[in-house]
């Protein structure tokens, strides 16, 4: 859907993006990750044609981005706000018309969304009469109202209270199910693991990682496995039982766990698997749970950023 090729952007005192290429596939839910100041916002602004890159180009459906493509894109910036003294309905209409909707069509869709999110009574209220969370709902609606094929959110969950954030997350997932391509930047990893199909990681103005979440995780496998087990005597497994593997740790379950037993972490080689572990352990213990320990997105993030730094 969107292909950014070799984008560079320099400001007077620093380089915001350095030869960054990213690919956001059609229908994906793409998380753009990176520490503060990595260049995420600059990248999103370039996609929205708010600023132009110094070098490189952005392709939308295979051809260079054009001015009238803005009607196909919806954008919720990180620095977002509304006219404080203008009525909610009026400014929602205004923003929709700027995106090219007719007044009648905009009104129809606004009524639909306002009902959907329980905002009917806000129409004549001024923004300054609403809470911050309420204003953000209005912003969300005005961003998606023109039914863009691509939605771009810059730090969509920052500043939302947990309930509103949850509601927005659900709306984003529904839009994703309906085929909209979503791209959002975040520095909160749990959002990525829950929601994203694809991620891209920018650090210090360079792209350091990109791919589908499955690919990325697969490429960061460590071949470690965790087994929760219980022996008849309640003690740890004998050295004899764990002899076939390299044991990383073997410790009692933390008090917070409802089960009684121990947790064993072992390191295998690339061509061994869970069966291998279970086959060796089953004669000695009851296995309550066994799984491969894949690194969390947070681990991958930190590890990649650190690798890039060193």
């Amino acid at each position: 859907m969107i292909r950014a090729e070799n984008i560079s952007k320099r400001y007077a005192d620093h380089t915001a993006l350095n030869d960054v290429s990213l690919h956001i596939p059609k229908g994906s839910l793409y998380g753009l990750l990176g520490p503060n100041g990595a260049g995420k916002t600059t990248f999103l602004r370039i996609l929205n044609q708010i600023i132009d890159p110094d070098a490189g180009q952005v392709l939308l459906d295979g051809r260079p981005l054009q001015r009238n493509d803005i009607a196909r894109i919806g954008y919720l910036p990180e620095e977002r706000g509304l006219y404080k003294k203008m009525a909610v309905g009026d400014q929602s209409l205004y923003l929709a018309r700027l995106k090219g909707l007719s007044e009648a069509e905009a009104k129809k869709r606004l009524v639909y969304w306002f009902e959907k999110l329980g905002m009917e009574s806000w129409w004549d209220k001024k923004i300054e009469e609403l809470s911050k969370g309420m204003a953000q709902k209005v912003q969300f609606v005005t961003t998606v109202l023109h039914q863009p094929e691509v939605l771009i959110f810059d730090e969509p969950f920052s500043g939302f209270d947990p309930l509103a954030a949850q509601q927005i997350r659900e709306e984003m997932l529904e839009l994703h199910r309906n085929g909209t391509t979503l791209l959002f930047s975040t520095h909160r990893m749990e959002n990525v693991e829950e929601m994203c199909t694809h991620i891209g990681l920018i650090n210090k103005s360079r792209r350091v990682l990109e791919g589908s979440v499955a690919e990325v995780v697969r490429s960061h496998r460590t071949h470690r496995y965790t087994v929760i087990y219980q022996t008849p005597d309640g003690l740890a497994l004998s050295a004899e039982a764990t002899a076939p593997f390299q044991v990383v740790s073997d410790e009692a379950l933390p008090g917070s766990d409802w089960r009684t037993g121990r947790s064993l972490c072992v390191q295998l080689t690339a061509n061994e698997g869970l069966n291998h572990v279970l086959g060796a352990l089953l004669p000695h213990a009851d296995v309550l749970e066994a799984h491969e320990s894949v690194p969390s997105m947070n681990d991958i993030f930190i590890q990649t950023v650190q690798n890039a730094a060193s």
Partner: protein, 437 residues
């Protein structure tokens, strides 16, 4: 629909819908009118005449009873009269002051006047003092005439009054009465109005830009429209508000004029009556001149020139004010950038005071050509008549001027609206103008 138009529509409607717009538009002319008339009205409020005790050793005022606002009460000019008079003044609140005229020496009236005194417990109105002074001067003058053996009555009869009617000869040979005072007032008023209007509406643009920046809506909007379109839409919308207000004001004034001329001033505005009045040598001459001046002014030219120069000046400065608004985070930070913008406007106003006296001087010419001062200065000149080529050149330069400032401002604006936090300097602005993005 063109996004500039949608933006302009919003700017226009949000302002016109405000109650303050309605009040300002309907009551504005009335308010300004009152502001001008009020001091005169207040001054002429009927106040009981002041009572002065008079101790007149010189017998200069003998037989005088006072004037419209002063009543004299004479004390017998005994040696102790002054001391007595002061005592009365202190104890009796009926009297407002004590006028003391010393005895004359060698019958010299000047000596009397030099030593005349007015005692009072509180400050007396200047008009009262001036009135008494005038009267004393008149008396002393007559006294001097008599001393020289001249009858004041003869002098009075010999007094004459010369008045020149200035006539401008036009190219086509027509002659036009040209009362300069009226044109001066009209020109200065028009120039001043331009100054106020440009300032008023250009500041509104700046406020609007700052509002969009501080409320953080600007990035949402420029993901839909180009910064240039947003800026132009804002300028256009606010210009429409100004024009609407101006048109309503002109309409109200015209209606008021029509209403007045149909009733109270019916005679005064009748050309025949004016002709008659002008024919009379003395009495009606002055009034007739003012009236004929009112008629001799080319109102359509002045009105259309006013509209042009208001719009031109507004566009020229409005774009720059928008740039200033984009460069700051709060209105309090605008001062350093405002100074270079307000200076030429104030200079224009100062220059137009001189221009009003010599509307064809080189000073007038050059300041009515430079786009930054031409709206104010040219408006001051127009009632006196300006050659068409000068008017045309000045207008063309103004158009070029605002195209230039709009270009310059949009270069600053597109970057300024996304820059938060750091306080921009003139150097930063220049960097923004030159940068590609």
């Amino acid at each position: 629909m063109n996004p500039i138009w949608i933006v302009a529509q919003r700017e226009f409607l949000t302002r016109v819908k405000k109650r303050s717009f309605l009040i300002m538009t309907l009551l504005g002319p009335l308010f300004f009118g009152l502001l001008m008339v009020a001091p005169a009205l207040l001054a002429s409020l009927p106040e009981g005449p002041k009572k002065l005790l008079v101790v007149d050793h010189s017998y200069l005022l003998v037989g005088e009873k006072g004037m419209e606002d002063v009543v004299y009460e004479f004390l017998k000019p005994t040696p102790k009269a002054l001391a007595n008079g002061k005592k009365i003044l202190e104890t009796n609140s009926e009297f407002d002051g004590l006028l003391y005229l010393p005895p004359s020496e060698n019958k010299d009236p000047d000596y009397i006047l030099k030593n005349a005194k007015l005692f009072s417990l509180e400050d007396l109105p200047i008009s009262l003092m001036a009135g008494v002074e005038d009267q004393l001067e008149q008396k002393a003058y007559e006294q001097k005439l008599r001393l020289e053996g001249v009858d004041p009555e003869v002098v009075k009869r010999a007094e004459t009054n010369a008045r020149l009617t200035s006539v401008l000869m036009g190219d086509a040979g027509e002659e036009e009465n040209s009362p300069a005072e009226f044109k001066m007032i009209l020109g200065l008023a028009a120039g001043y109005l331009i100054y106020i209007f440009v300032f008023l509406y250009a500041t509104q643009i700046m406020r609007g830009v700052i509002e969009e920046k501080t409320s953080r809506i600007v990035e949402v909007i420029i993901s839909s429209v180009k910064p240039m379109q947003l800026m132009l839409g804002k300028i256009t919308g606010i210009a429409s508000v100004g024009l609407l207000q101006f048109i309503i004001w002109v309409g109200l004034t015209a209606a008021l004029y029509a209403g007045l001329s149909a009733t109270v001033l019916a005679d005064a505005f009748n050309p025949e009556v004016i002709a008659q009045m002008q024919a009379q040598p003395d009495s009606g001459g002055m009034a007739a001149e003012v009236l004929s001046a009112l008629h001799s002014i080319n109102y359509p030219l002045i009105l259309s020139a006013f509209l042009f120069y208001f719009l031109g000046g507004y566009l020229l400065y409005g774009a720059l004010f928008a740039a200033v608004g984009s460069a700051v985070d709060a209105e309090a930070d605008t001062q350093q950038f405002m100074l270079p913008l307000t200076l030429p406007l104030i200079l224009a106003l100062l220059v137009s005071m001189r221009v009003m006296e010599s509307p064809d001087s080189p000073l007038a010419f050059w300041f009515s050509m430079v786009p930054f001062t031409s709206p104010v200065v040219m408006m001051t000149r127009i009632p006196f008549g300006v050659p068409y080529w000068e008017l045309g050149l000045s207008m063309a330069l103004l158009v070029l001027g605002f195209l230039g400032t709009t270009w310059l401002a949009s270069r600053i604006y597109r970057i300024g609206i996304l820059s938060y936090g750091k306080k921009a300097s003139f150097k930063d602005l220049w960097k923004w103008v030159r940068s590609d993005q």
